[in-house]
Assembly symmetry: C2
Homo-oligomer: 310 residues x 2
């Protein structure tokens, strides 16, 4: 396959095409991924998530720059699951990360939910693999972290940073509860605002209550991303976490778990495709029967399964 070979040879345009194929579920995407798969597993994947308005794009930009200064190449996937109908990719992300776009060592891509078959989390995981096979040292997956789909997206990461800001009001508690479990590190952005210390205390309290706590106590840092303040300390925390999970086998366990989930995901998507093809011409008839209450979907499904499965 042309695209995969060119990508592996370091062609940025091929990388871009590969991700487009993944995003739009072009048929060749599977063949591309097959070829790329053996070349993956080298990059370190960083997840950055948090509620809307937490300044994730700015933080991502600053972190990418810091890694560049260490001589590492960086891939960024900015995932926007908020726009399922219009195709997603927020122009804003690209604009805000503008300072990186001239750097050949950085590859930035926004992904939305264009196409409906298969989930965004699966596409994100494949895009991460494309960047990994391309040879990026660090891959950052940035996403708005408030729902199940976003949590699924960050599962592609080896280390996940949860970004919060002071003064988010009422049911931020709910958000925090949801992302507490996925944060390996917490950072309070815009920490010059009132309430930053209070927020740090709140996070600490929640971590105290976490019954699943392992040896790793997620550190809580304070940053002002827009001014680049605190980024070095944050990256030092990332380094510590990496060392921790590499040392105790947790990284290997996470990656095994991920490979398993991935296999099941791909299986699920494959099945969905086959089903839709199989019953496509009968679907409308079934729906009419359901609407007239002549049958129910469960009975229909039993029949179709008996018909389709060996």
């Amino acid at each position: 396959m042309e695209v995969a070979k060119e990508l592996l040879a370091g062609n940025r345009l091929a990388l871009s095409r590969a991700i487009t194929a993944i995003e739009n579920e072009y048929e060749e995407a599977t063949d591309i991924m097959k070829e790329l798969y053996p070349h993956t597993g080298h990059a370190y994947v960083l997840g950055i998530t948090g509620p809307p308005g937490a300044g994730k794009s700015t933080l991502t930009e600053k972190i990418a720059k810091a890694y560049r200064e260490q001589g590492k190449t960086v891939g960024i996937i900015a995932v926007d699951p908020t726009s399922p109908f219009t195709g997603g990719a927020i122009l804003g992300d690209r604009i805000r990360m503008n300072s990186l776009t001239l750097d050949e060592g950085v590859f930035i891509r926004s992904m939305g939910t264009r196409g409906s078959l298969g989930g965004l989390s699966h596409k994100t995981a494949d895009a991460v693999k494309a960047l990994d096979a391309f040879g990026k040292d660090i891959i950052i997956v940035e996403t708005v972290g408030v729902g199940q789909s976003e949590v699924d997206i960050v599962k592609a990461a080896d280390t996940t940073i949860v970004v919060l800001i002071p003064g988010m009001g009422d049911d931020i508690q709910a958000i925090k509860a949801g992302i507490l479990e996925i944060g390996d590190l917490f950072t309070v952005n815009k920490s010059d605002l009132d309430g930053a210390d209070k927020l740090v205390r709140e996070i600490n309290m929640m971590l105290d209550l976490d019954s699943l706590m392992t040896d790793w106590r997620p550190p809580i840092s304070k940053v002002i991303a827009s001014q680049g303040e605190g980024i070095d300390l944050l990256l030092a925390d990332v380094g510590k976490h990496r060392q921790y999970i590499e040392g105790n086998g947790e990284l290997a366990r996470r990656r095994t778990k991920r490979a398993k989930d991935e296999l099941l995901d791909i299986l699920g998507a494959g099945i969905e495709r086959r089903i839709k093809t199989h019953i496509s011409d009968r679907l409308n008839g079934y729906v009419e029967q359901m609407k007239k209450h002549e049958t129910d979907p469960y009975t229909l499904v039993n029949g179709i399964l008996a018909e389709m499965l060996k």
Copy 2:
């Protein structure tokens, strides 16, 4: 099936048990749904969604009360997709809607993402059907609207109200873009706060830009849910939308689409379950092969599908 029969006879405990079976994917859930299915299709389903902190629970409570005053019975499903690990249901919702809990004509239930097989949207749809078969006139599905899964959840609704509040800061634009298409009605809550009129103007501008606009121009109302202000006008808008979609066949189209999605959902879940059972003892071996890069998940999936599907 006991539970279904008792539910249809008006037993609240049976209703509660049915939804528990749905939520936890107990085996009897399918049998219950089969029995309930012929008795569905009578309720009108209202979706209420919006970003965290928009005051959705309070608004839901006030809307439910207003319908009760019209003599209608009400079912409420408060969906919390933010907490995939801890089981979800926010205690807060129940507390905030406390004023309704003594009213026999109202049934409130929170749902989280307990259990992992099958999506929350599918479970929500089934819970709506249980309330429908129970005989509720109005069913309100309330959910935090910021991600794909939440959008899927509101698809169970006939009319969807998007709730926003003034001064949500930076990437509220992204949220708005995502939920613009699902809003049949918009309402600005906490409209006594600064910026309420500005927000109304912004929503109007976005609606102006919407190329998919039909004859229905989503009305934008202002409410102060905590004080019950504006609720009557909002419900009048709901009534107008209902009349509109009943009159032009759109309601029938939406419900057809929903039945179709539902059939495919149930089918997908059924096949996935069968296949997972089928490969469960080989799964770890497959993952090991993947990790050693001896094979890739796409090749594995092709093999499994060939083996299982006729």
